[in-house]
């Protein structure tokens, strides 16, 4: 983010970027809405800012575009805030989308809920929308090689063992 700068020109491009960001926000908020709905706690209405009002509510950030980028979207980090109505009032959720080489590379969710139940649900969503990897035993996977750094230098390992021994004595 430290290298971001506000957009000032390239309105055609901006429109595309805005569309991309809004599309991402819709996807995320739809996912969030669906998630909340599935939990059966509330009826969720999703309101996404219309395109022409987007510039008022969205804080757009743009990085310098990569020279080699083949896509029509400029690489960079885009922030937007989406809102949806909850029975106690309107709630907001912040979304930051990182585009690299024209694809959504990362999405961060900022929790902005005010009502206690909304807070809980947004926290739950933020904690669960990302996928976690799990380990599988090497013997169960057909492999030629393993890439990692378990083969640390012998000198280092010996020293570490020695320190452990000293600590135990």
């Amino acid at each position: 983010m430290e290298e971001s700068q506000p957009t000032t020109n390239n309105s055609g491009n901006n429109k595309m970027i805005m569309l991309a960001a809004i599309a991402a926000v819709i996807i995320i908020i739809a996912a969030a809405g669906g998630y909340f709905f599935m939990r059966g706690n509330t009826n969720t209405t999703i309101e996404v800012p219309a395109e022409d009002s987007a510039s008022d509510t969205n804080e757009m950030m743009q990085e310098e575009s990569a020279e080699t980028s083949p896509s029509s979207y400029n690489d960079g980090t885009y922030e937007a805030t989406g809102s949806y109505s909850y029975h106690s009032g309107t709630e907001e959720i912040g979304v930051t989308v990182t585009l690299a080489n024209g694809i959504i590379e990362d999405v961060e969710v900022e929790q902005l809920a005010k009502a206690p139940t909304s807070k809980t649900m947004q926290a739950d969503f933020a904690a669960n929308y990302k996928t976690e990897v799990v380990g599988m035993n090497i013997d169960d996977v057909k492999l030629g090689k393993v890439s990692g750094s378990s083969l640390t230098p012998n000198g280092f390992n010996d020293a570490l063992e020695q320190i452990k021994t000293e600590a135990q004595s």
Partner: protein, 294 residues
């Protein structure tokens, strides 16, 4: 076509080289070992007979071998791109933190890291050293050495080969892509996914290995601490020097900054086991829900 393989220990790790070649294995093996020895004797901060050791004791002008041109070029590019975070000067910092020549692993006082220009300047083949300083060539060293050994094998008519230097790998011209498991940093008996590579290198970096006190082998020269927001990284690139360097740099800076200058694919694993990867990282990752094939 004959095939043979040889394994040996060098630069502190286990190397396994599989070759498919008409040339004699003994000739190739001795050339590889002697080339690695030359490299180590120039760039290792862990041996008292190295050029880097001399630099740590005395200011002056030091003449470097031919391979230094590319080496210093990559170091200086990554130094600029990472705004000084990826630096040869980290050798002093690692050493003061306890990762020193005698592996004391006992942290002492850690000094602020100066600008490289205050310590040295390089004009091939001469390094002007203004004050004695411990330089660390570990950030790119293993990757560069894999590329050097790879060139050597090609020059010797080895048609197809795979070099594995302690989990950093380069495969050349294999009939079938190599299936490489991505080691779980928390359990070396497990993998978190599989990639298939050929004519490419994959290098890994993990903050979970080589740990002592509150440090691991990567240090941020600004905070003088080891980054803990990333658990491990894997990078695939055409050259091992790039894969190796970027695997380290992803602990220190964002992939976006590096994409402007290098072609690579990456996977970053976070301490909570969530991940971030580039679109074309050719992996099959194991997830809690199902095997995510991409």
């Amino acid at each position: 076509m004959r095939s043979f393989n040889f394994a040996f220990e060098a630069i502190g790790t286990l190397w396994v080289i599989d070759c498919f070649s008409a040339s004699s294995s003994e000739k190739i093996k001795s050339q590889v070992l002697s080339r690695i020895e030359d490299f180590d004797k120039t760039y290792s901060r862990f041996r008292r007979d190295s050029l880097v050791w001399q630099i740590s004791e005395k200011a002056g002008e030091y003449r470097f071998p031919e391979d230094s041109r590319i080496f210093f070029d990559y170091y200086s590019r990554l130094y600029k791109i990472t705004e000084g975070k990826f630096t040869l000067l980290i050798g002093n910092t690692l050493s003061q933190a306890g990762y020193d020549v005698s592996y004391s692993l006992k942290p002492g006082k850690i000094n602020k890291v100066p600008a490289e220009s205050e310590v040295f300047s390089f004009d091939y083949p001469v390094l002007k050293v203004k004050k004695p300083y411990i330089l660390d060539f570990g950030g790119l060293g293993k990757g560069y050495l894999i590329d050097i050994v790879s060139d050597l094998l090609k020059e010797n008519g080895v048609d197809a080969f795979c070099i594995d230097a302690g989990g950093d790998i380069y495969c050349h011209n294999l009939q079938k892509s190599m299936r490489v498991g991505l080691e779980n940093p928390l359990d070396s008996k497990q993998v978190i996914g599989v990639v298939s590579i050929n004519n490419k290198s994959i290098c890994a970096s993990s903050g979970n290995r080589r740990r002592w006190d509150k440090f691991h082998h990567i240090m941020d020269p600004d905070s003088l601490s080891s980054p803990e927001n990333v658990l491990a990284t894997w990078v695939i690139a055409k050259d091992a020097i790039i894969a190796d360097g970027i695997a380290t740099c992803l602990f220190l800076t964002s992939p976006q900054k590096l994409f402007k200058y290098f072609e690579f694919e990456y996977l970053v694993l976070y301490p909570d086991m969530t991940f971030k990867k580039s679109k074309n990282f050719p992996s099959e990752l194991f997830t809690a829900q199902k095997n995510l094939v991409e």
